[in-house]
């Protein structure tokens, strides 16, 4: 190259730099988050740019002068900025405010966020504030009634109780109906059977998650939304996003709350005189004369002199209090969120409370233009002071085998022991479950080159549960200080994911985003136990005894998932959207031939309101049509389901002096993924500038290869076996609206309503029949052509007015005196037809009021314990409903004549099931009423506060139902905690089957919140 040419090129370069400068900068929203994909345009020119993943833009080659730039992005108010460009580049920072139009809120979609307008799947979002306001046992209970198609059944009135959540019905039988919970990208441990099944309701791992930490919860309902979690999305995905630092500088918040708890209904058990009268009546009905014998070693005279109200002795007015302190900081480089909280949640059961202490630190550090580092760290301690309930004792005993004729103490001052004495059991037992949990994630976001963002996160979810029990010598009968036991579980859940995203806008109108990713998760569970005799209290209070205890360890269990996924979204002019997702997953639970499964999804939407012909429509401000199809899967089976296992080689079992070796469990090398085909079509509309927004979804989910823990023909050689059998259909409609009915300066009234209708049907069970699934006690069964969880019972016809004896119906509907299991038919279902919620919020000046009504229509309740509480006199107490019984010929009554012998009713035993105990489970409930007052800014300023709010909250205060039992909202643990058990609350059989289940709690509380 000669010098002349070089000089010319340099001249050109310098000349260009002298006359063409750049405007560059970042675009952030009010929360100091980078706005990705915002369009930055120089008004009146064709110059422009689109922001990258860090919100950075650069408009090149502008001449010096005055310019006006226009920054626009979906969901944010279009912002203008004046820029004067001299001979050097100019940096501008643009902060965009949120556009209040509801259709443009940000939605978390799994490995990213989208504007609601862009979303092509079915996602319901619940804001953190909506979850924080309710005093609930665990955050998930506060989701009730707030998202269409999400059925939340709060476990019971026990503190820390787990809720049963079903999204768009249930598409699994034995492999669990629980959704996948993902906290800040970490699929977390939520199994409430970690330490087995005890006490009537197990410790709930989700209860340690502080609701005050939550920014939002997104429920991914269809495959277009959850295919990105394909492997485990069959029952929906719940994404929990915690709060992060935002704004400018430090802000502090504090909250204090206090309240009381009581049962929604109190059992009306018989008193001593009433019980004895009915016992006598049964005795005489059975053809005896004289005084009827009494149970529990009680003489007639003693019984007459005793009248113990065991219900009163097992319930109380529980107290609740809590405090929360948060600090947030926003800034250019560093965003911080710190939250500390302590919460005491006492239930109405004597001795029962859940105490949560938690701390969270979330930080984001913008290290460079191309690197951002994020940290999520939470530690928490949940202390569950437990009591026996339901079938296990306590209030359950007060409703059953603790008879009013039994005293608390004998005349000599010793405990009464000959019959059930729940006070003795309670006073002589200590029981605490302590859970320590650390949930930590480290997140890196890199922008190595323009338009490409790489994000990686690694996380560790560690949980340590210790179930400490102590029984005094009064219970154990050993002559020492008592026996202590500790059951322990250590769960290590490691996860990483890495994604690479490519963002590109062509000619302003074509917007493309492609992401590829890889994720791996491995969990390890170790279980240990320790026990010792002669300990004066819990191991936690007697560390030296613990050190010398006998230890037992169980083999650890391990599972792993490996996944690769990609998501491509494209939109044209923010009007036509298409999305394709492909995820392939491998699970260690399946053999190598069946390990991998593919979960594709395709979806699209059309924002009709962006079309020219709609632009001037004054009524319809927004209209979007969307449709999607995709596959999702379920692999929720025990880690060793596929293996044949054998006795240990040295098993100490010999025959003829020689060793033995024998199989323990069948192999199923062919077990594979349960998969669902999901279809969803929906209309989303906004009227009157989005004052009213409406969403209507139709969905269909066809599940095949359903994982079932089969009760197999015993002629096979074993009685249980995991296999893929049959199919399930779910389809339904979801409708919701949000309406700002009245909006004036001083008064606002908004209404949110949602309702979902689900139709569920088992379409096939292969060659198996209704008794095929293990664990279907209480005659809840799987029946082809009926929903999962069908009440399959012998029908009760009536009480014969002449004899007072039961009349049943045979299979053909003819009356019969015979109780024959062949006459069982499908007569009810535990899944409701429709569920929903209605929230009205009123605001007048500084005052506001919120009213949430939830409803559930069309399910049945099987009141399983009533078979021992009405007409059949055993060693159980009864409730006042038994008064409607047959006493003499001609009586037309609900219950037959009293008897002490089940054979009088032609029953095979006292546990027989009929439709007499099957009830209408529909209800509507005033779930929440809150009245709040917000201090005026002026008053706040005087107190050096940013804001202050006082709110009074009442929950579960009114219930409308035909159900004559205690409480129509019933979810409970199973009688057996084995993973495939139909009756496990992981599955379906335990919902709406009540067995002495404690009613829900009614609470009244006050909260004071300040910010400064």
């Amino acid at each position: 190259m000669n010098t002349r040419l070089l000089s010319f090129l340099l001249l050109v370069i310098f000349a260009r730099s002298a006359t063409a400068q750049n405007i560059k900068g970042t675009v952030k929203d009010a929360g100091n988050e980078a706005v990705i994909g915002a369009t930055v345009q120089v008004v009146g020119s064709s110059y422009g740019a689109v922001t990258d993943a860090l919100g950075y833009f650069e408009i090149k080659r502008l001449k010096p002068g005055n310019y006006k730039i226009k920054v626009s992005s979906m969901g944010l108010v279009t912002t203008f900025k004046e820029v004067t460009l001299g001979t050097t580049d100019v940096s501008v920072n643009v902060v965009m405010k949120e556009d209040r139009k509801q259709m443009d809120e940000l939605v978390v979609v799994g490995y990213g966020v989208q504007r609601k307008r862009e979303v092509t799947g079915a996602i319901s979002k619940i804001g953190g504030k909506e979850l924080n306001d309710l005093p609930v046992p665990s955050f998930e209970a506060a989701m009730q009634g707030k998202a269409p198609g999400v059925q939340v059944t709060v476990g019971s009135g026990l503190a820390g109780s787990a809720s049963i959540i079903r999204i768009r019905g249930i598409s699994s039988i034995s492999a669990g109906g629980d959704p996948l919970y993902v906290v800040d990208g970490i699929p977390v441990t939520q199994d409430y059977f970690i330490l087995g099944n005890s006490g009537g309701m197990n410790n709930n791992p989700l209860a340690t998650l502080n609701p005050d930490d939550i920014e939002s919860v997104e429920v991914l309902k269809d495959a277009a939304a959850n295919a990105i979690y394909g492997s485990r999305g069959a029952n929906g995905v719940i994404l929990i996003t915690t709060k992060r630092g935002k704004g400018k500088g430090w802000k502090f918040g504090a909250q204090l709350k206090a309240g009381v708890s009581m049962p929604t209904a109190k059992p009306k058990m018989l008193n001593s005189a009433q019980w004895m009268q009915l016992n006598q009546e049964a005795w005489e009905n059975d053809g005896h004369s004289g005084i009827a014998p009494l149970p529990g070693g009680i003489t007639h005279a003693q019984a007459l002199a005793t009248n113990t109200d065991w219900v009163d002795k097992t319930i109380q007015t529980g107290s609740k209090y809590g405090m929360n302190f948060s600090a947030t900081r926003g800034g250019e480089k560093l965003n911080t969120f710190i939250n500390l909280s302590h919460d005491y949640n006492g239930s109405y059961l004597v001795g029962n409370s859940f105490v949560r202490t938690s701390g969270r630190l979330n930080m984001d550090y913008n290290a460079t233009q191309w690197l951002k580092i994020g940290v999520n760290s939470a530690i928490s301690r949940g202390l569950n002071n437990r009591v026996n309930a339901a079938w296990s004792g306590g209030l359950g005993a007060a409703m059953s085998t603790a008879l009013p004729i039994y005293p608390e103490y004998n005349a000599d001052g010793t405990w009464y022991r000959a019959g059930n004495n729940p006070v003795r059991n309670m006073e002589n037992m200590l029981w605490k479950t302590e859970e320590l949990r650390a949930l930590n994630g480290l997140n890196l976001t890199l922008t190595p080159i323009k338009d490409v963002v790489i994000q990686g996160q690694t996380s560790y979810d560690y949980m340590n549960q210790a179930d400490d029990q102590w029984r005094s010598s009064e219970i154990t009968g050993n002559k020492n200080d008592g026996d202590a036991y500790r059951g322990m579980a250590f769960i290590k859940n490691f996860n990483y994911y890495i994604t690479a995203t490519y963002l590109k806008t062509y000619k302003e109108n074509h917007n493309l985003q492609v992401m590829v990713g890889n994720e791996f998760q491995r969990a390890n569970t170790l279980r240990r136990s320790a026990d010792s005799t002669n300990v004066p209290g819990l191991f936690s209070d007697n560390p030296s005894k613990y050190l010398n205890a006998r230890y037992l360890s169980q083999p650890g269990t391990n599972w792993a998932f490996l996944s690769y996924f990609t998501r491509a979204t494209y939109n044209y002019k923010q009007k036509y959207f298409v999305q394709a997702v492909f995820r392939t997953d491998a699970s260690s639970r399946f053999g190598s031939n069946y390990r991998w499964a593919n979960f594709p999804s395709f979806s699209g939407s059309w924002v009709v309101s962006e079309e020219e012909f709609m632009k001037n429509n004054k009524t319809l401000s927004f209209l979007k049509l969307r449709a999607g199809w995709g596959k999702s899967g379920n692999a929720n089976i025990p880690d060793n389901a596929r293996f044949a296992t054998y006795s240990a080689t040295s098993n100490n079992i010999t025959y003829n002096g020689n060793p033995t070796l024998f199989p323990l469990k069948l192999e199923n090398a062919n077990i594979h993924w349960e998969t669902s085909d999901n279809y969803d079509v929906a209309v989303e509309a906004g009227f009157f500038k989005d004052r009213l927004t409406v969403e209507l979804d139709y969905y269909k989910k066809v599940t095949t290869d359903v994982l079932m823990y089969l009760t197999i023909p015993q002629s096979i050689g074993f009685s249980q076996y995991w296999d893929n059998v049959g199919g399930i259909l779910n389809q339904g409609l979801e409708f919701s609206f949000k309406s700002r009915n009245i909006v004036t300066k001083d008064f606002q009234w908004t209404t949110n309503f949602n309702v979902a209708r689900n139709f569920n049907e088992i379409t096939s069970l292969g060659v198996y029949t209704e008794d095929a699934v293990s664990g279907g006690t209480n005659d809840t069964r799987v029946v082809v052509g009926r929903p999962v969880g069908t009440n399959y019972l012998i029908r009760w016809s009536r009480v014969d007015p002449n004899t007072g004896l039961p009349i049943y119906l045979d299979k053909n509907g003819n009356e019969t005196n015979l109780y024959d299991n062949k006459n069982r038919v499908a007569v009810g279902k535990i899944i409701p037809d429709a569920i929903g919620g209605l929230t009205n919020t009123f605001r007048y000046k500084q005052w506001d009021m919120s009213v949430l009504i939830i409803f559930s229509i069309g399910s049945n309740i099987y009141e399983s314990s009533q078979k021992r509480q009405a007409s059949l006199i055993t060693d159980w107490n009864m409730d006042e409903r038994v008064f409607d019984r047959w006493q003499k010929p001609g009586d037309v009554t609900r219950f037959p004549k009293l008897t002490r012998d089940y054979r009088t009713y032609n029953l095979p035993d006292e546990w027989s099931n009929t439709t007499l105990w099957l009830k209408d489970g529909s209800y509507a409930r005033l779930r929440n009423l809150s009245i709040g007052y917000n201090m005026t800014p002026k008053a706040c300023k005087k107190m050096h506060l940013t804001s202050m709010r006082i709110v009074g909250i009442a929950t579960n205060i009114i219930t409308i139902t035909n159900y004559d039992g205690l409480d129509p909202e019933i979810g409970r643990d199973s009688e057996g905690g084995s993973p495939g058990d139909l009756n496990s609350s992981r599955n379906m059989g335990s919902q709406n089957i009540t067995y002495l289940t404690p009613p829900q709690e009614k609470t009244f509380s006050v909260q004071v919140s300040i910010e400064f």
Binding site: I498, N518, F520, R522, Q554, P555, G556, T557, N558, W559, A560, L562, Y564, A586, S588, S592, R595, D639, N640, F643, A644, T645, Y646, S647, A648, T649, I653, T654, Y655, N656, G657, N658, P659, T660, L661, F662, P663, L666, E667, N668, T711, I712, P713, Q714, S715, I716, G717, F718, S719, Y721, D723, V767, Y768, T769, E770, D771, A772, D820, N821, P908
Partner: protein, 451 residues
């Protein structure tokens, strides 16, 4: 990502900790031998008076149990929720699974075994499997001879390891399968095999199967082959010394209190002290028949409680021990089978009478009560049958005898052969299958229908 692609196989190959997988457990001939031994072990536990008890409950030797799921067995009213009945059914088929697994492993060439081991093991497997099917088909199906060609439903036949639900085979098919197994057992088993199954054990069982089929020619020929090989034992209670007895053909090995393979006999019938009746009691008809002749030394085994009272009950002292021996096949059975068979065939009555008299002579300690040499065939038959009831109480033989006789002598169920108050072929005398069998291919037994 490339890293994970390369490593994923290892990451996902997770085997359960602390549990022995089949691939680790079953690798050598010794492992197979241990599995075979575990089959004996399991059967020794199931035939420890338990299989026998279910038979006895159906028959006329016992009185109604006090409570529980055995009551409907006695009442001939079992349904598919009866967990006691289902438990036994499942336990027997569990052993069949093990046996079928052994056949699979002997055949698939994955484990090196000697030819001698293979032959012997096939013989033992088929012997044990035949024993199991013989009891399954007798407890859960109507007896051989119930229908003209025995096309009535029997039980599910599983010859291989498989997990598909199956329909019931006919009774004819089940018996054919049992005989096929026994023929192979006889062909493969050695003459001597320690305390394990021998060729003669298979032959003795085959004689019992033919006897149940009312096929007396085959009973005759097998018994003629076996009987000369054994000697009568003077011991009255064979539970004291079954394994070492000169009559022993096959017994389960029961060596002590910690290794007691007669536990259910003992648990059901043991009388802790003379004033304390056993949990399960004998029927009045059994007691009266057994004690009618006090010269019969066997009558001393029987006790009466609360005599003359409404609560009068009856017990047996044969099982008053901490542990007992467990006889399965022995000479006395063959003798009484041959006696009845020959008498029915009306051939060689002398041998038949001699066989009965061998039993009588031991019972009475003299030949005083022996049958005369000119006793007519019908009387020999009657005495052989009576002696079977007196010799084998609680061993589960009586009810099957009555069914066999019913099928032969009262094929129409006219009521001439009764089991207590029930006709021999009433539906409830075949126990109901457990609810787990409830698939679309399976036909349950009819229930009830017995007086």
């Amino acid at each position: 990502m490339l890293f994970t692609l390369g490593s994923c196989r290892k990451w996902l190959e997770i085997t359960p900790e602390g549990q022995q997988l089949e691939s680790d457990a079953v690798k050598t001939q010794a492992d197979l031998n241990n599995i075979l031994n575990a089959c004996y072990d399991a059967m020794a536990n199931h035939y420890n008076g338990r299989v026998q008890f279910f038979n006895e409950l159906m028959g006329d030797n016992l009185e109604k149990p006090q409570s529980g799921f055995t009551v409907p067995v006695y009442q001939h009213t079992t349904n598919f929720f009866n967990s006691d009945v289902g438990g036994l059914y499942g336990d027997l088929y569990n052993v069949i699974f093990r046996l079928n697994f052994l056949l699979k492993k002997l055949d698939d060439g994955t484990i090196d075994v000697t030819a001698e081991f293979k032959t012997k093991t096939i013989g033992e497997v088929k012997y044990l499997r035949a024993m199991l099917y013989f009891d399954l088909v007798r407890i859960w199906a109507q007896p051989y001879g119930y229908s003209a060609n025995n096309t009535h439903p029997g039980v599910v036949i599983r010859k291989t390891v498989d997990t598909t639900p199956k329909a019931r085979a006919t009774v004819a098919e089940v018996y054919a399968f049992i005989l096929e197994d026994l023929n192979e057992a006889i062909a493969n088993l050695p003459a001597a095999n320690g305390n394990y199954a021998t060729m003669n054990a298979a032959k003795a069982l085959k004689a019992k199967v033919h006897f149940q089929m009312n096929d007396y020619e085959n009973v005759k020929s097998i018994c003629n082959d076996l009987i000369p090989q054994y000697q009568m034992d003077s011991t009255l209670n064979r539970f004291d010394n079954a394994l070492s007895s000169s009559e022993n053909i096959f017994s389960f090995v029961s060596t002590g209190v910690a290794d007691n393979r007669a536990a259910t006999y003992i648990n059901n019938f043991r009388i802790v002290n003379p004033s304390n009746p056993s949990p399960n009691r004998l029927s009045k008809s059994m007691y009266l028949e057994a004690t009618a002749d006090t010269a019969d030394k066997r009558s001393k085994f029987y006790l009466i409680f609360n005599a003359g009272d409404a609560s009068e009950t009856y017990g047996i002292t044969k099982f008053n021990s901490d542990f007992l021996s467990n006889p399965i096949s022995y000479l006395s059975q063959l003798k009484l089978m041959r006696a009845e068979a020959l008498a029915i065939l009306n051939s060689d009555l002398t041998t038949a009478i001699g066989d009965v008299n061998d039993i009588m002579q031991r019972a009475y300690g003299s030949s005083n009560k022996n049958l005369p040499s000119n006793t007519p065939a019908a009387d020999v038959i009657a005495m052989a049958r009576k002696q079977r009831r007196l010799e084998f109480p609680c061993e589960g033989i009586r009810v099957q005898d009555l069914k066999r006789i019913g099928a032969k002598e009262d094929p129409s169920g006219s009521g001439s052969v009764m089991i207590r108050t029930s006709k021999w072929n009433c539906p409830g005398l075949a126990l109901q299958f457990p609810v787990s069998e409830n698939t679309s291919v399976f036909e349950f037994n009819a229930e009830g229908g017995c007086e």
